[in-house]
Structure formats: structure tokens, C-alpha cells
């Protein structure tokens, strides 16, 4: 598996660019992952999404439904796509240090 430098650490990433060990995730890692998804600066709004995804993942060991994400963060669907142009599954989840979502995505 490939190794990459994110947030000053050497991390293992899968072939789709998702980090393998969520325990090594921290805000600096998130900022570098965001750059790979076309988000150069993480604003407070981005953090709201990222923090929710991470907390949800740590609790349930899976990515939340987009419904839960919108309800908990108060963002509209459209706004999520504006924050993360590559979408919630591949974009936001990657930044939050989740593994690649399963299925046709």
C-alpha cells in the first residue's frame, strides 16, 4: 500500500487515496486530505461537516446517510456539495479520515 505525507506524518493510503488508520487522523491530516479533494482552505463550515462525519464513524463504524449529515449540521444538500465539490461520499468522508465507502461509489 502506498505511503503519503499528510499533516507531517507518513500515512498508509489505499488506491483511492483514503487513509487506512483512522486513529492517525488529526486536523492537520484533514487539511492535507482536503487539498487532494479540491478544497484548499477548511472553513468553520467544512469543519462542522468533517467533525460530524468523524464522530459518527467512530461511534457506528460506518459513514452516515446524507440525511443524518444534513440534519445534524443544519446544511442543505446543495450546501454540502458546495463545500465538498466531490460530494459527501468520496470528498467529505475522505477528509474526515473514513475508509472508502462501500458499493457503487
Amino acid at each position: 500500500m502506498e505511503q503519503k505525507e499528510y499533516g507531517g506524518k507518513t500515512l498508509e493510503i489505499d488506491e483511492d487515496g483514503f487513509i487506512q488508520d483512522p486513529n492517525l487522523w488529526d486536523p492537520a491530516v484533514a487539511a492535507d486530505l482536503a487539498k487532494t479533494e479540491g478544497v484548499d482552505d477548511l472553513t468553520d463550515d467544512h469543519w462542522k461537516v468533517v467533525n460530524f462525519l468523524r464522530e459518527y464513524y467512530l461511534e457506528f463504524n460506518m459513514a452516515p446517510m446524507i440525511r443524518k449529515l444534513c440534519k445534524s449540521t443544519g446544511f442543505k444538500l446543495k450546501e454540502i456539495y458546495e463545500l465538498f465539490p466531490s460530494g459527501p461520499a468520496k470528498g467529505a468522508c475522505k477528509v474526515a479520515g473514513l475508509p472508502k465507502p462501500t458499493g457503487c461509489v
Binding site: D14, E15, K71, S86, G103, C104
Partner: protein, 436 residues
């Protein structure tokens, strides 16, 4: 290699089960290849890896064909060296086969279109996948998704309450625009409807905008329609994994739910493999005598416009767009002219991609490839020809009638920095629709 060599339990099972899987169509394809090489240049993997003969369809086919020759065909018993008969002995042999049948072919069937003998590689490649899956040899992603689909009835493990809540949410978002109560905008489990609408779990889990767009179209058309609370996943990993039992279990869930609701027609949202699985393969896998009609939402939308049930203003989609034919939708199910007819009704500047229709190249994500991360680098490399095709259209938007292709194309566009957007017909139709 000596036949006295001992075989692993898994290798033994694969060979035993192969005999039960072979049918006349497969045997026809296994014996017909004359190694003329016409298929070679038809494969997107070959075009991206010209120096690597292991990507050639005939080469890949021979990895399966050698087993057939050795164990099921008399030529392999009489002169095995001549017909290149061979076998599998160890678990490592099976792993090697796995990397070919899952990692080097997307079952897109473009080689079949270019084979003068009509060899259908995808059919026996799928059989080989099924044999490996039956002994637990498969990419991890295939195992995870298959398990979800077996256990929860949908490939992303979406719970019933989350699914229903998402539908209600989309309906609420439309209340103001449509001036109707949410429960009438997306009716759930309503019996005796003309249309029961099934979707890809990707829509409900990550991007329900396509559900909202479809609901808007059904509502404005005055359709008597519903979405089922269960049996709503029209995707089917059985097609990708080669597991007919999974294929049957998934499609049966849909058929039984539509029957229970006494729906007159099952409409399948834009998804190539989902359409093929549900409409074409499912009744055979499930051994189910389907008592209702089944159609793609592309046909439904086209009919609404032709019958005047919805009005569209195509100038609302004025940007140049191109169309990508999905392998399962176009090549395997013949849905080539209907999406084009619809496109020309809802946008002003549609430009063909070349080659197109049944000769189009795979998005790179066919055959479930999007779920097999271990092969992503070679998949993206194989996208070279797709990237060139897309670029040559000089458009910024590519439309496709397949969720898998949406993701495959998005990956290719990113990797090759094409800066294009991918969208589906339902989004274009909803955008062009005039609501009075």
C-alpha cells in the same frame, strides 16, 4: 504439470462446480475462439497498455478456457499440449485467476461486438467470478457489498427507517415548489399504483437529488406512483460477482414487493447494471414469473413528454453536452436510441462522443470495478481511451444513464484533469420541465 499433483480443496471445488455452470452458450464461446486477434484492439485495457499482452481479451479468456479444455473437452484429454489445456491446483492459482477475472476485465462486452465468432467473454468471465466467489476468493469490496445485499436487501446497508426518512425529507423540500403535501409528493407503499419506482442505494445514501428530481417529474405528470418501503434496491451485485443465488435473492425482493403492492409497472431509475439485472436477468435467476411490466425511467420520461404529460423547455439546458452509453444499458440491453431521443427533447446542444452506442468504451467502472480498490491504479490507467473520447467532444458536461458510470467517469475526469461535470437524464429533464 502432472495430473497427480494434489489439489487444494478450493481448487477442487472450483473445477467440480464448473461442470454445473457450463451451458451451451458458454461452451459455444469456449470452443469458438480461433485466436484471430480481432478483439485485442477493442479492449480499453489493451489500448492503455499496448505492451502488455496479458490484457488481451483472448489471453484473458484462455485462462478460463484452459480449464474447460483440460476437464470438460475431449481435445484437452487427447492432445492437451496442442489446445493449451491446463488446470488449477493451489489457492495461489485461484488468486491469480481472481486478479484476471475481477481486475483485468470489466465485463463490458466490447470485445464480443468485435469478435467474428461471437465469443462472449463476459459471460464466462462472470462464470469464473462466480466459481471463485463460491469458494470465498474475491476482492474484499465484492465480499462486503455482497454481504450487505444478502443481509439487508440493499448494497449499502441502508436501514428502512433511514430510507423512509430520506424520502420524506426530499418530499418536504419540494412542498413549496409543487404546492402539495409531502405525503402526496413521494407516496410510500401505496397499493394499486401504475408505477412503482426503484432506485440505486447510492441515491438515498449519498445523493438524493435524483430522487427529488424523479419525484418532481412523476408529480407533474400526474402519475399514480409509489416508492416501496422495502425491496427498493434495483442494483444487483449478483451480476458482478457471478453469484446467481444472490442475483435471484435481490431481484425476487423487488418482484415480490411490487406484486404485494399490486403495482402495474416497475420503473427502474437510471442504472445500467441495475436495469439489466432487474429487467433482463432477474426473472431467470429468481425463477420468478413476473406479472407486471418493467421499464427504464428513460422510457417513462420520454413517454411523458411525447404524451404531453409534462412540458419541457429545452433552452434551459443550453450548455453543450455529450452522452456516454453504459455497457449494460446500451451494449447488453440495446437502449441506445431512446436516451438520445430524450436528450434532444430536453437540451439544445447534444454532441455525440465517438465511438458511441454499442461501440462505446467502458467508463472503467463496469463489472463492479468501483468497489475493488486494489485494482484502482490499473483501472484509472485503462481510462486513457475514455479520457481521449471525452476530451474530443469539446463539452463540459457528460450525461449518462448509469450510476456506476457517473462514478467511473468522475474518477477518469479527475485523474486526467478534464474539468467536466457528470450528470444524468433525470436531472436534465427536471431542469427543463415547465411547472405551471
Amino acid at each position: 504439470m502432472s495430473e497427480k499433483q494434489e489439489r487444494s480443496h478450493k481448487a477442487q471445488k472450483v473445477l467440480e462446480r464448473m461442470g454445473q455452470k457450463l451451458n451451451r452458450q458458454m461452451v459455444g464461446s469456449l470452443v469458438a475462439c480461433v485466436h484471430c486477434g480481432m478483439c485485442t484492439e477493442s479492449c480499453h485495457y489493451v489500448l492503455a497498455n499496448p505492451g502488455d499482452p496479458t490484457y488481451a481479451p483472448a489471453y484473458k479468456a484462455d485462462r478460463i478456457r484452459k480449464l474447460f479444455k483440460r476437464h470438460f473437452d475431449w481435445t484437452g484429454r487427447v492432445f492437451p499440449w496442442w489446445v493449451k489445456a491446463g488446470s488449477v491446483f493451489t489457492d495461489a492459482d485461484l488468486e491469480e485467476l481472481k486478479d484476471i477475472v475481477f481486475g483485468k476485465c470489466t465485463n463490458c462486452r466490447r470485445c464480443t461486438m468485435n469478435c467474428p465468432m461471437g465469443v462472449d467473454l463476459a459471460t464466462f468471465n462472470r462464470m469464473a467470478r462466480g466459481l471463485l466467489v463460491s469458494v470465498g476468493v474475491m476482492p474484499e469490496g465484492v465480499a462486503v457489498v455482497s454481504k450487505d445485499q444478502w443481509e439487508t436487501g440493499n448494497q449499502m446497508g441502508v436501514l428502512k427507517e433511514d430510507y423512509v426518512e430520506t424520502l420524506e425529507w426530499m418530499a418536504e423540500e419540494l412542498e413549496e415548489e409543487l404546492g402539495a403535501p409531502a405525503a402526496d409528493i413521494i407516496p410510500i407503499d401505496r397499493p394499486d399504483c401504475d408505477v412503482v419506482y426503484s432506485i440505486n442505494p447510492r441515491e438515498v445514501k449519498y445523493d438524493p437529488r435524483s430522487i427529488a428530481d424523479a419525484a418532481k417529474i412523476f408529480h407533474v405528470a400526474g402519475e399514480s406512483w409509489t416508492m416501496p418501503s422495502e425491496g427498493w434496491d434495483m442494483t444487483n451485485f449478483g451480476l458482478f460477482s457471478g453469484d446467481d443465488a444472490l442475483g435471484g435473492s435481490v431481484s425476487r425482493r423487488l418482484y415480490e414487493k411490487v406484486s404485494e403492492l399490486r403495482g402495474k409497472r416497475l420503473v427502474i431509475s437510471e442504472c445500467g447494471h441495475g436495469y439489466r439485472s432487474t429487467r433482463c436477468e432477474g426473472p431467470n435467476w429468481a425463477q420468478y414469473d413476473v406479472p407486471f411490466e418493467m421499464e427504464s425511467s428513460v422510457i417513462t420520461m420520454l413517454r411523458y413528454i411525447k404524451d404531453g404529460r409534462i412540458k419541457v423547455d429545452k433552452t434551459r439546458n443550453a450548455q453543450p453536452v455529450t452522452y456516454h452509453d453504459s455497457c449494460n444499458f446500451a451494449r447488453s440491453c440495446g437502449m441506445v436510441e431512446e436516451p438520445r431521443e430524450l436528450l434532444n427533447l430536453v437540451c439544445t446542444d447534444f454532441r455525440e462522443m465517438y465511438p458511441n452506442r454499442a461501440e462505446n468504451y467502458c467508463c472503467t467502472g463496469g463489472g463492479g470495478a468501483m468497489s475493488m480498490s486494489e485494482y484502482t491504479p490499473q483501472r484509472l490507467k485503462s481510462g486513457k481511451v475514455k479520457a481521449e473520447q471525452l476530451k474530443a467532444t469539446n463539452t463540459e458536461v457528460v450525461i449518462t444513464s448509469c450510476h456506476n458510470c457517473v462514478d467511473g467517469l468522475t474518477d477518469v475526469i479527475r485523474h486526467y484533469e478534464l474539468g467536466m461535470e457528470v450528470t444524468q437524464l433525470v436531472n436534465l429533464v427536471a431542469n427543463a420541465m415547465v411547472i405551471e
